[in-house]
């Protein structure tokens, strides 16, 4: 069966190092850290007191007062990123068949702040239930997809994907597949997360998943480095407009890249730890290559999951070497989480965008903050340390892995007719 081709025609983001695509790329290229001491709440009693927060965001600039009360921060970030991407893709909503326009949006947790506030209110009361009627429709992790569809009138397939830190990669893969199969011509896809709050930080802290390097917070997200001690929590959203190629061509749309393959697998191993030999990661990357009909040698850049945890980074590099063999040494590998922190369910979307922009600019964004070689990581791998590197990038693969053992890999290719 011949699949229809899928291209990227719009991008949008709000994340710890950029409130627009232009700002995001500039900071990616320059290796800017998005980390800072936490300002969203008083974190003085927490083991970790820093994060990669979104900066200079004022909900009132984007939403009216009535609207904003019904939107958890994760949905606010979603709508802001979508707005930029929709303006960027320049779609004429008047002339589109909106039943062929869908939304698939990922979030690992959804409205955790809403959940926290409502339950706190109940627990502090006398037992009389006074939950807001907006509690559930504000919190649930599919509601961002719902809000996006209402805003733009998209009436095609509409739902959320949930696979922890792989959520938005799964969203992108699903959207790609539905376009390939003709279920829709265009998708708003991506993901958002907003869990820099007491419950999010406290929960991940208890798992010992987060860096507690408060003194060196700016350089604490240091994937592959021997002295890394956990991931740094990020937040924000990334949006991609995926479109069937003929549809994009017919309306003269700008094309960033082609989405050529997706791979998905389950580790079937452990709640939070990756399989030590990267079993699931190997299967996911292999499936993506096969789906894209590419050989390992056709890929030039891998934007790794690389969270800055030993239990994640080491198996992932092993998996890359297992899949790519000798070609692994020709690849540029980088973890942009060293700059953005880990956006959890939104990670796949902002890293997909980093991969696409890398192709467009023929430049690999760096892995910053690396200080010391980890003996368990092959020193011959090019981890793109410290500085961005110019090179030919024909295709880029983006990996994301989520707690629960969910793995997803997406491949973007430089567009050619």
């Amino acid at each position: 069966m011949e699949f229809r081709r899928v291209v990227v025609t719009g991008l949008g983001t709000i994340n710890p190092i950029g409130n627009s695509i232009a700002e995001y790329w500039e900071n990616l290229e320059n290796g800017v850290s998005g980390a800072g001491m936490i300002t969203h709440f008083d974190a003085s009693k927490f083991k970790t007191q820093f994060a990669c927060e979104v900066k200079n965001f004022d909900a009132k600039e984007h939403f009216d007062r009535k609207e904003v009360r019904k939107l958890d921060l994760y949905t606010q970030y979603a709508l802001v990123a979508v707005k930029e991407a929709m303006a960027d893709c320049d779609l004429n909503l008047e002339s589109e068949d909106l039943t062929k326009a869908g939304v698939i949006w990922g979030s690992g947790i959804g409205g955790i702040k809403t959940f926290l506030d409502e339950v706190k209110g109940y627990a502090n009361g006398d037992g009389t239930p006074r939950f807001s009627p907006f509690f559930i429709p504000k919190m649930i992790s599919d509601i961002a997809a719902g809000h996006i569809s209402m805003k733009y009138g998209f009436q095609g397939p509409n739902y959320g994907t949930v696979s922890a830190c792989a959520s938005s990669s799964h969203a992108i893969i699903d959207a790609m597949n539905y376009i390939r199969l003709g279920k829709a011509d265009i998708f708003i896809t991506g993901g958002s997360e907003a869990s820099v709050n007491e419950a999010g930080l406290g929960g991940f802290n208890s798992m010992q998943a987060l860096s507690t390097n408060n003194e060196e917070y700016a350089t604490a997200s240091r994937p592959f480095c021997k002295s890394r001690d956990g991931f740094v929590m990020g937040e924000g959203a990334g949006c991609l407009i995926l479109e069937e190629y003929e549809h994009a061509k017919a309306r003269g749309a700008k094309i960033y890249a082609e989405v050529v393959g997706g791979g998905m697998s389950g580790d079937a191993y452990h709640l939070t730890a990756t399989h030590p030999e990267g079993r699931g990661a190997i299967n996911s990357m292999t499936m993506a290559l096969n789906d894209a009909n590419l050989k390992p040698e056709d890929v030039d850049y891998i934007n790794v999951h690389g969270t800055s945890t030993p239990v994640g980074d080491i198996p992932e590099t092993k998996a890359v070497q297992s899949v790519f063999g000798e070609h692994a040494y020709n690849l540029n590998i980088s973890s942009t989480k060293s700059m953005t922190g880990h956006l959890l369910g939104a990670a796949g979307s902002v890293e997909a965008i980093a991969s696409i922009l890398a192709i467009n600019n023929q430049t690999v964004p760096p892995t910053i903050n690396h200080k010391e070689q980890d003996p368990e990581i092959d020193e011959k791998l090019n981890l793109t340390l410290h500085k961005a590197q110019k090179r030919e990038i024909r295709a880029a693969l983006s990996n994301t892995f989520g707690f629960g053992g969910h793995n997803a890999s997406v491949i973007f290719k430089s567009f050619s007719k």
Binding site: K66, E67, R130, S132, P133, F134
Partner: protein, 78 residues
């Protein structure tokens, strides 16, 4: 304006994001002030909290305008 009426008005302005001048006694929550069914439920809950009363669902259904809300609360608030 009575104390109750001004407190009711303040809640409506805050929750529905409308202008104070729109909140007239005749104004209907759904037809004039842009409230949907969930907004209306939220308003009733806010009135209950503000005035420390319980408004049963069958009574709440009859509160459709600003004036309805003020009269109900005037009759039932302790």
């Amino acid at each position: 304006m009575s104390d109750i009426a001004s407190r009711v008005k303040a809640i409506i302005v805050d929750k529905l994001g409308v202008d104070e001048t729109e909140v007239t006694p005749e104004a209907s929550f759904t037809n004039d002030l842009g409230a949907d069914s969930l907004d209306t439920v939220e308003l009733i809950m806010e009135f209950e909290k503000e005035f420390n009363i319980a408004i049963p669902d069958d009574q709440a259904e009859n509160i459709g305008t600003v004036g309805d809300a003020v009269s109900y609360i005037e009759e039932n608030a302790k």
